[in-house]
């Protein structure tokens, strides 16, 4: 039973080891792809199992919770793992074209797969310290990937990324220490069980806020998001896609997990803060996007802005809002990763990611235009693409909860998102190329072209499927939200029925 949980976690590491040891040959990159296919299979099996049985927990090392480390998969974890596997597969195929031999020799595939392993671990673990460890795994491999290539920009961006993330990491670690000092346990379900028994509930809130700050940096919320726009435009496209898709979402996931399972007592206080944070994150992010003229910078700021939506779902904490948060999480990973993958193709065909320097893609690269259009307008929340449903659910949750201001902010930010998506569209696609070149996809080496286009098309297809047939996903998100709001199943699965 526990192997359903373990395999998606272990596979990326195995893949990393073998891909690294064979990095000087062509085998490395194919091991990476095969490993990610296998991971997707394993994740799907986990998903099937979770759908079948509800929350499943596995005690690593055979030590019962809370003594050993527990891996847990509820609906949210399972879907996050599946999405991680999908993104990883898409990016690893894309990397076949995007990553050169030099980077492979330096261990790109190892870094990438360990990153995926760290992400999967973060989603699956039920232990707070273990979560820290996976965060670190993820963080350090993201450091490596970010600066892989070593251009000046990357190094400079890397300094910003590394410094700010290290601060959050240490805050997180201290928080864990303090929480351990209060509860004597590290298992999240067990912490959740023992926290209400504490006398000093005010202190619990203090610790909660400490975690909020630590995860806030990871999730890139206002006013802690600086590292993201400062660095995400610098690495290779495959890398920035996986960053944009997954990394901040792990922070969001951690916030959701902690603030539904563990810190669910003083919600008046914590979730009000979160609501403000959400609103400011949305606005500042989208304005940042409006201020920039480089596709990758625009998209980076949009990540920030959209994190705000997810936090908004969490902050409202109604069943519908949680549905929205979960749905948004899933939708955003697919769409944002895809957009950055496409940006890579834009750069390769049109020669730059700066809007002033490119154009004419609509005329001569219609396929790319279609592939961009779908995720871009999905991000902007146009129906019936996946982003619409995400936004719809969140706005209705806010309106149902009489949270007028946040609903208005969400809608306004949606409008500004349209603005910057059309900015990219108008400049990169509609506008004639300033140098009069006709950018064509055929300019890319045909052997690599499919490696670029296949994952993009697949992810776009996924966006369409979610958009046109949202019921499955919404129903799933509802189940996930219900589980999040009532953690008793989770706790029972982790601690045994008696707990």
């Amino acid at each position: 039973m526990s192997w359903y949980l373990t395999v998606p976690l272990v596979l990326p590491f195995l893949t990393a080891v073998f891909a690294f040891l064979t990095r000087f040959g062509p085998a490395g990159r194919w091991i990476s792809v095969i490993g990610n296919v296998a991971m997707l299979l394993a994740a799907s099996m986990l998903m099937a199992k979770v759908l079948d049985q509800g929350v499943i927990a596995g005690q690593m090392g055979g030590w019962a919770a809370p003594f050993g480390i527990t891996l847990v998969a509820d609906y949210l974890s399972a879907v996050m793992v599946v999405i991680t596997a999908i993104t990883a597969l898409a990016v690893s195929v894309y990397a076949l074209g995007d990553i050169n031999d030099r980077k492979e020799h330096l261990g790109y595939h190892a870094l990438f797969n360990v990153l995926i392993g760290g992400v999967a671990g973060s989603f699956l673990t039920g232990d707070l310290f273990n979560l820290y460890v996976w965060f670190e795994v993820m963080l350090i491999s993201s450091f490596g990937l970010l600066v892989l290539g070593g251009t000046k920009e990357q190094v400079d961006g890397g300094v910003r990324y590394v410094t700010l993330n290290l601060i959050s990491t240490i805050l997180f670690l201290s928080g864990i220490g303090l929480l351990y000092g209060m509860t004597g346990t590290l298992n999240m379900a067990d912490i959740a069980r023992s926290l209400p028994e504490l006398e000093n509930q005010g202190l619990v809130t203090v610790i909660a806020v400490m975690f909020m700050v630590a995860f806030g940096v990871k999730a890139a919320v206002f006013p802690l998001f600086f590292w993201l726009p400062a660095s995400y435009h610098t690495p290779a496209f495959a890398v920035s896609a996986v960053f944009a898709g997954l990394l901040t979402k792990v922070g969001v996931y951690a916030l959701i997990r902690m603030f539904t399972l563990v810190f669910n007592a003083d919600t008046d206080f914590t979730h009000t803060i979160l609501l403000w944070v959400a609103a400011l994150t949305m606005i500042t992010g989208v304005l940042g996007a409006a201020a920039h003229n480089d596709i990758r910078k625009i998209l980076s700021f949009h990540i920030v802005s959209q994190i705000g939506y997810m936090i908004m779902g969490l902050a409202l904490l109604t069943p519908l809002a949680m549905v929205g948060a979960v749905f948004y999480l899933v939708h955003h990973i697919i769409v944002k990763a895809n957009l950055l993958l496409i940006t890579g193709v834009i750069e390769r065909t049109a020669g730059s990611t700066e809007l002033a320097k490119i154009g004419g893609l609509y005329k001569t690269a219609p396929l790319l235009a279609v592939l961009f259009f779908i995720p871009a307008f999905s991000l902007a929340g146009f129906p019936p693409l996946s982003g619409f449903w995400a936004k719809y659910v969140l706005v209705s949750a806010a309106l149902e909860d009489n949270a007028w201001v946040i609903a208005a902010v969400a809608l306004l930010v949606g409008l500004l998102t349209i603005f910057s998506m059309t900015k990219i569209w108008a400049e990169a696609f509609w506008k004639p190329h300033p140098e009069g070149v006709d950018p064509v996809l055929e300019a890319i080496d045909p052997a690599r072209r499919w490696a670029f286009l296949l994952p993009i098309a697949a992810l776009a297809m996924l966006t369409l499927v979610i958009g046109f047939f949202p019921q499955t996903f919404v129903a799933f998100a509802e189940m996930a939200a219900a589980q999040l709001l009532d953690p008793s199943d989770y706790m029972a699965a982790v601690l045994g029925e008696g707990a």
């Binding site: 040891l21 055979g62 261990g107």
Partner: protein, 139 residues
């Protein structure tokens, strides 16, 4: 570094350090020590070697690229964890085999836990050396 005293000292110390690190590794389960400490001590032996005789010689003495040692160590540690699957247990469940059990002692223990610790040793050893060597070569 052209210091004869350092080089001569290193010749003895490096060997002692490696042996000592292995000792710390093996006994780690019962007394202070273990893979981390062993790996750290082991790596200092080659760090010293690199300081005294230069990285080229240290690399030659090591023969294998330190990164490969580190990654292989990770693989070994992981395989030690996965081995539990063969016995139907969860990941990282220790599997123990006691050689020559007698009445009063359980015998010489061979376990996946030890293999895991060896993996840890190799990881720490290889990682530190790859950083230090690369840094040394930069200056």
């Amino acid at each position: 570094m052209n210091s004869i005293i350092l080089r001569v000292g290193t010749r003895y110390l490096a060997g002692i350090l490696v042996l000592f690190s292995l000792y710390m590794l093996i006994r780690g389960h019962n007394e202070p020590g273990g893979g981390f400490i062993g790996g750290l001590i082991g790596s200092t032996s080659f760090v010293l070697y690199a300081i005294a005789c230069g990285t080229a010689e240290a690399r030659a003495a090591l023969k294998i690229m330190p990164q490969n040692i580190a990654v292989a160590g990770l693989g070994i540690a992981l395989l030690a964890g996965i081995a539990a699957a063969l016995f139907g247990d969860a990941l990282f469940t220790g599997q123990w085999l006691f050689l020559n059990p007698t009445e009063d002692s359980k015998g010489l223990p061979i376990s996946t836990v030890l293999i895991f610790d060896i993996g840890v040793y190799l990881v720490v050893f290889g990682s530190i050396l790859s950083i230090v060597f690369a840094m040394e070569e930069e200056i």
